[in-house]
Structures are given as C-alpha cells and as structure tokens.
Amino acid sequence: MSILANKDTRAVIIGGIAGVNAARRMAQFDFLINRSLTVQAFVYPPEEGQQKEIYRGGELNNVTVYSSLAKALEENPQINTALIYIGASRAYQSAKEALDAKGIKLVTMITEGVPEKDAKRLRKYAIEKGKIFNGPSSIGIMSAGECRLGVIGGEFKNLKLCNLYRPGSFGVITKSGGLSNEAMWLCAQNGNGITSAVAIGGDSYPGTDFVTYLNMFENDPETKAVVIIGEVGGTLEEEAAEWFGKEIRRIKLIASIGGTCQDVLPQGMKFGHAGAKEGKKGLGSARSKINALREAGAVVPETFGGLSKAIKQVYEELLKSGVIKPEAELDEALLPALPPSVQEVMKQGDVIVEPLIRTTISDDRGEEPRYVGYAASELCEKGYGIEDVIGLLWNKKLPSREESEIIKRIIMISADHGPAVSGAFGSIIAACAGIDLPQAVSAGMTMIGPRFGGAVTNAGKYFKYGVKEYPNDIPGFLNWMKQNVGPVPGIGHRVKSVKNPDKRVKYLVEYVTKQTTLHTPCLDYALQVEKITTAKKDNLILNVDGTIGCVLVDLDFPEYSFNGFFVLARTIGMIGHWIDQNNQNSRLIRLYDYLINYAVKEEREVPEKK
C-alpha cells in the first residue's frame, strides 16, 4: 500500500524540457516495476502537437504535447494527477486549472521560486476543493513498487539500492528534495524500505504539511513508522508533534530537524531553504521543534547522523513485536537492467554495428578538426594556406609549394566574372528579391552546369583520355571526340579568339609552364589540340575551363573534383555580389517589357469547361 500515488496514478506534466526529462526518469521506474507508463500527456503551448519520445525500458512511447490542460484531459480522461514544471510566473495559473479539473485529485508543483502569495492561494483553493496541492519546490512523490512522480529517487541504480521496486514499512516526509532521497536510502539500509515518500518543498508556505500526510500514513496499514525531516522555520513540525501527541497513534514517528546551528551563528545570519528562518522570539527554531517532537513521543536523534541508528532501532522493535514480518530478500539479479543505449554497448565492445557512412578525410571528435589526420591549428601554425586544405580535403595530399601556388591562382582567376554571367546574375536577382545569403548564392550556384562553368571536369577528363589513347595522334583524338562526344569541352569561346586571346588563359599557361617545374603532359596536349582547332576556326581556342581542367589533371586531382574549383571560386564572387546588392539596399527587379518578345496568343475568351 501507499499514499498519494499508486498503480492507478496517471499523470499529466505541465511544462517544457524539465518535465520531459522527469517523464523519462519516471518511465525508468515504470520499467523497473513493470507498470504501464505513468505520464500520459504533456501540456506546453509552445510545443503543441509535438510528441515526446519516452522509453519504458526498450519500449518507445510517443507522448503528446497539448496546448491546454482541457485538451489533454479530453483525450486522456484517465489522468488523475498533475505535475507542474512550468516557470514560476505561470505556475499559479497552471496549478489552479489542474485543481479545477474534475478528474485530478493531486497536484504536485516542482517549480521553484513561486511567489508566496500564489502558494498560499493554491493551498487554500485545494483545501476548498478537497484536493491535495503538494509543493512548490517539491522533488516529487515516490510510492515503492507502485508509482514515481517526479525525479525523486534519482538514477536507476539508486532505485534498486533503495529497494524502491517493492514496498517496505516506512513512510517518509521531508521538506528538502535531496534529503527525501537520503531518507529513502536510510530506510532501505536500516529497515525494509519505504511505502511512500513525499517531499513537500522548503518554501515558506508549502501547500501541504506534515500532518496531512501523517494522517494518510496512519490510515495506510502497510506503513508502520514515519520518518520526517524538517527544519527551522514555520510551525509544521510543531503541528506534527501536536498531532502525534494528541492520541495514541498506530505509527511510530522518527524525526530529524535541521537548523540547530542557528543558535550559535551571528544574529541575523540565515541560510538554507526559503522557509528556513526563525520567527520572532525563537518561534519555529530547530530546538523548539526538536523539544516538541520529543515531548510528543517521537524518536529525535540529536544530529542527522543519528537517524540511521534511530531507524534501525525502530525497525528492530517492530520486527520483535511482530508488527513487521521479516521478508525474504529479493535477489537483485531478478530485477530488470535498464537497456543500455547503443553508444554504451559499443563502448564496451559488446556489439557490432555496421556504419552507415564512411569518411576518409576529416574527423572532429577530438579537441579540434583534423584534416586527413593533420590538426587544423597546426596547419595554420606551420604556414599552410587554404590551397593546402583544398589539397587535403579534395585529394588527401598536401600539395607542394609550387602546386599550392597554382591552385591559388586557379581560384583567384575564376573567382568572379562580372554581374552579367548566369551565376552572378542569378545571385543578384535573388539578392534583389530579399533572399538571404545562402539561398541567393545557391540560386547562382544552380546555374553551374553544361553551359556555364561546368566544363572543367569534362575538359580535363577528355584531354586526359587523349593523352592516354591518342598520344601522338591529335586528328585521331578529334575524330574520336566528334564521333563519341561532340564539340571538345574546353575548346572554343563566344568572344575570345586567337587574335583576341583570353588573358587569364595566357597567364595561367605561362605561369605553369614557365615559372614552375610542374610536368604538364595534359596541358601540352591541349595546346597541341588548340593549334589544330584554331586553324579550322579562329575562336576554337583553349578556354579557361579547358586550361584549368588540364592543369588539374597535371596536378593529379581526381577528375570529378575539377568542377569543384569553379564552384569554390565562384562562390566567392557570388557572395560578393550578394553583399554588394545588400549594401546598396537594391530593390526588387523585373525584366522590362521591351526585353521580352511576347510571342503569345492574342487576348481571347476562356471557353466553358467541358
């Protein structure tokens, strides 16, 4: 048996992430004792309609978040308990709604920092309604073997250590949350564990008091003794003493009261819970509480350390008198173990998981990213540049100094080509339409393809083929291309020609061939091809795509990476255009009518739909 919470308890949690975390802890307890899920719904308007994943052991449950308590109860009429986790400024309203709900009998408020007046009003309201309002600042309620409300009891291992999987004979009532757990442990270690434990919270005006629960424990036949942990401030402990002393009680009472130290501390120095403060003329002092409880017949050790012995003593007396029947120890091995997560099992090496993806270039699991094993900061320190990072991430090699210089130049000469070309123009139109940077740059990026900038890969690929298959037979290569591919990628330009050469091509070819020692078979081959094609037609020159493609072949980059150089380089330009348009606060643009040939039908009537 138990008080407040039992196997029939079904809860709604009002609040955000803290509530969800509590629900997960509660589900661990549900799993331990093999009961159905305690938390049936969440109420948290900002996350309305979401479902929270709650594991009961290995079983995944999706618990719905509602925008209001009324909706949650409409769909889950079995709910009879509410846990309030929502922030202090909204806690009052939430708790009041819960107290108003017909099916809800118990409202426990976990929220801390709730105004005193709100707590006082809720207490009064609950009494009028004949319901229990527990808290604020409560850690929750635990009924061993039956129900856990809140994170009371701590981690899974502790639930077992404190025998919370089956009922014992001790009730626990504390103001402090941490000490509720300690008290449950003491009852398990020195006795046979608990029936129920309630944390009423350490605020000045908690919604309930020791007497409320002492009465419940007195009426719970399984509870034979109650441990209360109180502290200086208020009169709840004195009231408990009065209750206990008033008539002969079935239960034994053990108590520990904190705050005796305040007798010797400098005057006015108070600390601990909000409610832990002495009133005028020593009212509510720890000492007066201890005396009152002792006079009423409770066992009150001088310090908290004496609690173990007191519990043990009471337990042994109850055993001796036959009130408590000794119970066979449960073999802990029979209790379920919490299913570990995949990560935990993998760490222990007990499972093989086939990876979903494989990477060979980078790893950020350590203190900093590593590119093919090299720490990014160390590359910086040793004078490497962006060209070398490209070499590592695209080709898994650190380029030589000469190679880096070539890569750098390829990027530099390709970075932008004015606003008129498809890519830049696309980004500009997007920027003028108020589109954000990544999307506007993507708009320009989508232009890169067979007609615009996308020829680098194919140029490199086919010249490389020519070098290999038609080393000394350029007409044969051109013939093969004509039959199998079409125009040679990398050859030809719309405006540039032999007489009007592309300055960038000229520079890059000269730089690579004259200022570096790079072996350039592919570039040399392409230049030979150019001699033949330009003889046929003036503008069939080796263009910038072709040149870059060949140089990249000679640099030994994988051929499918070649377009990447254009993409990377132009990204710089497109970002520049986006920034430029934004700086100018450009307006939305549309094409002028005179730039469009409206080759459309005359205006006409829409026929009736058949």
């Binding site: 709100d118 502790n158 941490g178 300690e182 502290e231 007798d263 310090t303 350390g305």
Partner: protein
C-alpha cells in the same frame, strides 16, 4: 525574503497613499545643497540624516543624526558618505523632514499561512517592545479586505480615540492595500507620528520585506533587495551571487568569520544539517555553502576556489545527500579542478578534505575525487554507506 531600504519603501508608501515625510536620497553631499535651493522644506524644517544602507544598529554607529538644519545635514551627510563599517561602505544617505510631532504609534502587517496579521498600537516608538502586550492584532484572511469599520474597531480597541482612530484606520487600510498589491511579506512602521495641530501623519521609519520571487509582476520595482544576512555582502559572496543569477541550478555562499571548518555541501536541506553537525560537535564553521539543481561544473569550480581561499581553515567538508538529479561526476569535476587550481596557488596547505556523496554517476565522481590522494591532497573519500554527516565527526576527531 527580500528586505528593501527605506527609500524604496517610502516610494511604495507614497504610491499607496500612506503618509511619509518629505525625503531625498543622495550619494553626494553637494547634491543636498542644490536640492535645498529647490525645496522649501529642506531649508525650513528640522532634518534627520540616516545612512541608507543595510547596516544594523545605525543609531549606535552614529549613522543617524537628528534635528539638523540644512547646513548641519550637509556636514552629517559628508561625514557619513564613504564611511566603512566592517565589510560595508556607506554610499547613500537619506535626508528626511523631521516632523515635529505629539505622539508615536506602531503599525505593522506580516503574512502568515492563512493570510496576514495587522498590528496596531498607540504606544509606538523605541518603547514598543516593552508595550508589546498592548498591541492589538487583527487577522486578515487570505484575499479578504477588512472594511474600514472593522479596522476602526481594532484601532479603538488598541486605544486610539475619535478622529485619530478613524485616521489611523484609514492609513492601516492603505497599508493593507500596499501589502497585498506589492507582494510584501512584512511592513513595519515605527513610529507613525502625528502632529495634532494640523492632524498631519507621517511614517517616520519603515522596514519592509517584499517577496523577491514575485518581481516578475512588478515592473516598477527599480530597487534591489538588501543583504539577508544582517550585514552587507563580501566581495566573494557577491561574486558567487552573480554566478548564481546566471546559471541553471544554484550556488550559494555565506562567510562566517572566525571559523575553521569550511563547508562545500550540496542541497538546501543537507547543507544545513552539515552546519548543525559541525556546531553539535563544538566546531566553528568558516562558511555556509550550497550547490544544487545540477549546476554547471564551472560554477561549482568557482565556489570551490572561493572556499579554498577562506582564511585559517583546517577542514573542508565536501558533503551531500544522495542526489536525485545533480550529476555527481560533473559537479565533482568542478570541485576537483577548483582544488587543483587552489593548490597550485598555494592554498590548501595543511587542510584536510572530507568527502561523502551519492547520486547519478557517484562511482565515477568518487573515484576521481579519491585519485586526488595521488596528487598529494589530504583527502578522505566516502560513499553512500557512510552516514551523511559522520564525515564531520571524522574530521573533528582527526
């Protein structure tokens, strides 16, 4: 609980129609001269100058000066501002009109579980303690407002008569309004004075506590509460409070000068039991400290370093109950870092450290703590099987 200074309390009284004397709060004596030019009452009335700080026993410390003219008030303010009292410094003084009066009354209200209680006496002033038996009490149930007739009746029972009883009742009704609407926990007016010639009333001194947790619904609360510990906060306490205000969970520190047992304890309930255990054994605590609600490790580290710097400590009690959700491993890693850092700075010489804790990841946390022995720390580590406060006995018996 948040005590507020007289200035902000007077401002709230004004807001709710409780008569207050004219007053100004200043930080610079020269400002008083300027205010004197603008305000007739400063030039023509007798004045009282009080240090506007959370310092107990101001009268004895010479921080209250009565019956001054403007020039004398200027001198008094000049003398007070900048004075150091223990750990406190006087930054502000309140200069108020010292109303010539005929009688002093007592009026207060304080919350209790079921509502509040109004206290009335016509024997106010410094003698109120002696006349405590004459105080008339009126219980006000939660969310109920007593009628003016009820309050007047109480005033009559308290010994007020005729028009004065009616006027006192009127002021008391406004006090109740102020108490309810400002989320006050207690307000004490002593004395409430009367000048019978023109039936002028004024609350000459006020002590007011407001519920700081309710500040979210008081946009006009432009004040900060003063120290709750009977003196102003030390630099270290202020530093920990600043951290506390920023984090999830909490860290708290109160220094207790003269003690030699430092506390680095977890949980609002358990930490008090640790203080009790030290006191019960005849020891003296050097501080009160508490961390809870799974605070970040860096916050616990800062708290640890502050505690390691306390003068003349012999023991540090790293105690706590079995935590519900505070991660022992994570919070202990903050404490361990704090210990290491302090040791490297020369602290923790001849200091013994006593540890007892349970909770999430307790095994890893305790093992890491125990490893500090290898680094030369005098540290004794116990798990949940050690009764919670028994490490205090071990420390004091060592």
């Amino acid at each position: 609980m948040a005590k507020i200074l007289e200035g902000p309390a007077m401002k709230l009284f004004n807001k709710w129609g409780i008569p207050v004397p004219n007053y100004v709060v200043i930080m610079d004596p020269d400002r008083l001269a300027q205010l004197g030019e603008a305000n007739k009452w400063l030039r023509e009335s007798k004045l009282v100058v009080k240090a506007h700080e959370a310092i107990g026993g101001r009268f004895k410390l010479g921080l209250v000066k009565l019956g001054l003219n403007l020039d004398e008030a200027y001198e008094a303010a000049k003398e007070m501002i900048g004075r150091e009292i223990g750990t406190s410094v006087v930054h502000q003084v309140i200069v108020a009109e010292m109303l010539d009066h005929d009688e002093e009354y007592y009026l207060s209200i304080a919350g209790n579980r079921d509502g509040s209680e109004l206290l009335l006496s016509n024997k106010g002033g410094v003698d109120i303690e002696e006349n405590w038996d004459t105080v008339k009490r009126l219980f006000i149930p939660l969310d109920e407002t007593p009628t003016l007739e009820t309050i007047t009746e109480a005033a009559l029972e308290a010994g007020f008569t005729g028009e004065i009883a009616e006027r006192v009742a009127k002021i008391a009704s406004r006090l109740i309004l102020c108490f309810e609407d400002e989320d006050a926990q207690s307000i004490e007016i002593n004395p409430l004075v009367i000048r019978k010639s023109d039936m002028r009333f004024a609350a000459l001194d006020a002590v007011m506590n407001v519920d700081w947790d309710a500040r979210f619904r008081h946009a006009d609360w432009d004040f900060k509460p003063v120290s709750e510990i009977g003196r102003s906060y030390t630099e270290a306490e202020q530093q920990i409070m600043d951290i506390d205000a920023r984090i999830k969970g909490s860290v708290k520190l109160v220094e207790v000068p003269g003690g030699d047992i430092a506390l680095l304890t977890a949980g609002g309930g358990a930490s008090v039991f640790y203080s009790d255990a030290v006191v019960a054994r005849g020891g003296c605590i050097a501080n009160y400290a508490e961390y809870s609600g799974d605070p970040p490790d860096w916050a616990v580290e800062a708290l640890t370093e502050t505690i390691c710097r306390l003068p003349n400590i012999k023991h540090i009690i790293v105690g706590g109950a079995i935590a519900n959700f505070t991660d022992v491993k994570a919070t202990f890693s903050g404490i361990i870092n704090g210990f290491r850092e302090s040791k490297s700075k020369g602290f923790l010489e001849n200091v013994q450290i006593w540890v007892r804790r349970g909770g999430p990841n307790e095994n890893q946390g305790l093992a890491a703590m125990k490893k500090l022995q290898e680094e030369g720390f005098d540290i004794h580590v116990y798990d949940r099987s050690m009764p919670m406060t028994d490490i205090v006995d071990l420390a004091l018996n060592s």
